[in-house]
Symmetry: D2
Subunit: 295 residues, 4 copies
């Protein structure tokens, strides 16, 4: 397995659709990725929750994966979200990502029927056996319907070869404490809950998986740098400054709010796919007001 030392701001681009909402807008996707890299983000993570991966058909998914990887072109590491409801298709996607140059894949155990711990474990180990690049285990019960305990997560990281990183998005800082304890603080932890950014760094997270850099990359990066430097006062000030935006994008749903924010920034990335709807007018005004205070 290749080594990967992922740190800092891992940025999640949205997946832009063409005006009628039917087609992937690859050029705008390329533009978004370039903006994220140019702003200093440390890695790019296409096809995550933010990327509306769950709403794409397989052909579209392949198209976004391929375009994202070729656009980044090894300037920074790329971690591709390959989650799917069936193990079979998750494996297909993982192989596709590896074949096209992904540095790592991210796996959320999406479910319809609740999965037992045995089923989750074997889902990860089957995917891991099918590829040679590292896997970031991703826990996000709010979207996946499956909640993995720190104990289960630590066991998977310990026993399944390619699973080397953990993204925690429950927003419960005690999960990070527990993971740290279970691994003697050796599992690389990534925070996926935006309003927990400050405290996750305090607790020892090495990275922040976030869609916020689509809108406010400099503030995100400065928070990381202050935390890395151990400057708590500075980190706290930077955090409270950007917190209204972090709360807003969490509450309104990432694809919906980030796409609205991009429009406000002059970039047309379309709107989310139905049944998701575009941010309504009143909320868009609130978002504009928040962004105004951050310029």
């Amino acid at each position: 397995m290749t080594e990967l030392n992922l740190k800092g701001i891992i940025a999640y681009p949205v997946t832009p659709f063409s005006a009628c909402g039917e087609r992937i807008d690859g050029d705008t996707l390329g533009l978004l990725i370039d903006r994220l890299i140019d702003s200093g983000c440390h890695a790019i993570a296409p096809l995550g929750s933010t990327g509306e991966s769950a709403y794409l058909n397989d052909k579209e998914w392949d198209e976004v994966a391929e375009r994202s990887l070729s656009q980044v072109n090894r300037r920074v590491p790329v971690i591709v979200g390959i989650s799917d409801l069936t193990t079979q298709n998750a494996i297909r996607r993982a192989r596709f990502a590896q074949a096209h140059g992904a540095d790592a894949v991210m796996v959320l155990p999406v479910s319809y029927w609740k999965l037992s711990e045995r089923e989750i474990y074997r889902h990860y180990s089957r995917i891991a056996q099918a590829i040679d690049i590292p896997i970031m285990l991703y826990n996000n019960p709010a979207t996946s319907g499956v909640d993995m305990s720190p104990e289960l997560i630590a066991r998977i990281v310990r026993e399944v070869d390619n699973v080397t990183m953990v993204k925690e998005s429950t927003g419960d800082i005690q999960r990070m404490h527990r993971l740290a304890q279970l691994s003697d603080r050796r599992i690389p932890m990534y925070n996926g809950s935006n309003p927990l950014a400050l405290e996750a760094f305090a607790a020892g997270a090495v990275g922040w998986c976030t869609a916020a850099p689509n809108l406010i990359p400099a503030l995100n990066l400065r928070l990381y740098e202050a935390a890395l430097a151990g400057d708590l006062q500075q980190a706290r000030d930077l955090f409270y400054r950007q917190l209204p935006l972090l709360q807003f994008i969490l509450k309104g749903g990432l694809p919906t709010t980030i796409k609205a924010g991009l429009t406000l920034c002059g970039i047309d990335a379309g709107v989310p796919r139905l049944p998701l709807e575009a941010l309504d007018e009143a909320e868009t005004e609130r978002l504009a007001a928040i962004l105004d205070t951050l310029r």
Copy 2:
């Protein structure tokens, strides 16, 4: 819109897979449907949660819908589950079901990102506008990730033309009370929570949506008949008799437990699709013991 007066036991067949798990086993599906109709079930509901609808690709979904409708061949009403993550594909499935003779469709607002009330409402109204047959609104937050309040449900039934029936699967009897109150007891309510079968009938549900008839149709039907006759003592006795099975299939997941039960009954409907796994040995023995007491 066609009229449909759906009552009683609405039976949910599993979707059988061939040995290698790769293909739909249409002949066994036909056999399962015949068994359910022959045992006296009042309607057939393919492609529900039990039918692993979420784990099928579009081609497979079409195949199961078509085979189910042709197999029933109008002996009893058929209500087809057409839920999908995108509104567009839910509409495609709804039209397919109507074109192939479905009497109604069942719609669960499956989600990855949480849906707002406005998004849920418009998801239903868009599907309703695309077809002419009745829609059963289906609330099941445990699998869909979206919980609709009785107030929202009552509004959708009142305002969206084709939505005429409600299947409640939260297992919270107060939801049925509230729905009854909001509609002056006029919304036809169907219970989708197996261990609530007795009390849902007591509260006025007109039907029970259940996978249990794959294993114990006579007990399910007799409970309905006792409730319909208003014989509370008899209904209670029948309910407690079958409750261990109802609890078991809820806890273990319907596709997993029903397929294991069918194997115990001598019918090979395969196992669920990965990441779902076959029921393990110890649990299968417990299921066999429960079934033994009910013969």
Copy 3:
């Protein structure tokens, strides 16, 4: 231990306070008890949650216990709520109740610090050893902060001699199913959740512990009688008729709403003790409107 075959409507009087809120109004308490007995209630339960037991000092508590027992004067069974935060004072109250003629006591494991199962078990067994009359175990996590599983409850009933009855107030009908299963339907179950009255009887509850008879005794009694006769249609109609009141008194808190309702009925039982406040004007009008429809 004396035998007690408690069935039907167990009525909970409020504890009336004098105008300034400082003193117990014993005469009005006597009047309320007479009304409940005259209306046909099967038992009287003073000093329950409704009786603001938790808000009385020891002297007041004794006064209410004594007056209630002497007022009933063995016309119907009396079950006295003796719950207290310390085991020592709960025992003192239990002995006091027994000494003054109580037929049974009701015990809720009130807590500040969460109690372990061992602590709950020993709390019950210590009280049971101190008296000779039957104990009704009472589970109501919403007020007590402690939730007892059906398994723990069944074990206490099985092993602790005087604990012979169970009042379940979680509002979760599956708890009653589980209790019934764990005891082969032999534990006498009493329902303490007003909006669950219909379904609890359906599931086999032998009694309904309720403050509603302070306001609508005839409807409560007729629901019980219909359920007892196994007439499901009649029971359902009676239930839905009184449901708005049952929902109202649950939502607004029993002492608050029942005292407001008594005032509307021309009986001045005072208002609840601070920090509880009297029902506000808007809510009082809603209550009056509900009561009007039930006359």
Copy 4:
């Protein structure tokens, strides 16, 4: 109103009982308080949750308040927990505390019946009007049964004169963020959730309300000092070092675990009052092992 600038480690002594559990052991209480002050704690908070305040009768409560205040003798500020179920007795205790020299009182809205926001607000304002010393509002739904939103808390602090400090014990760091936002970071926030100590300081808490200094005062103080100095790396290391103890005392209940720990340290403070029981043998061994690693 007197000014009070409370910061750092606010230490919560247990209330020691005599061997038979019947009487307050004032001398040991004095010893515990001296130990806490000598170790450098910045304030003493008797009669909190840790002090088993809820399990004391009024006479005992007065005795502990008086002894604590005289023992501290103005060496550090004293904040007395005066919570009681009735507003009347809470006021009595608040006045008693003030009369005997308390620097502030802490108020948790203990409840049996849930309190409305109006009831909570008026409970605080009635107490505030009765005294002249500052009030620390205390939110701890796990023990009190009442959860106050940050919005309600901020309104009480803004509008009720004496309420000047907030102790948050939900363990949800987002509550602190919200409180900070609602007051432009001006409300003095105190953290009452031990395993959140690191992150609460990161988020801007000025104090840590904790019973841990009964056992490990030096580690608690060093964590505070590192956080105050903005040395994140050092604070993190100190936090993870003491986290097993912080988790243990939270999980087992503070009076139970702290009293067991004191015994292990050679101080006999008795055991908690029934229904609370002494820590069992297996858990006591676990606690001893944790304490061993921290020496």
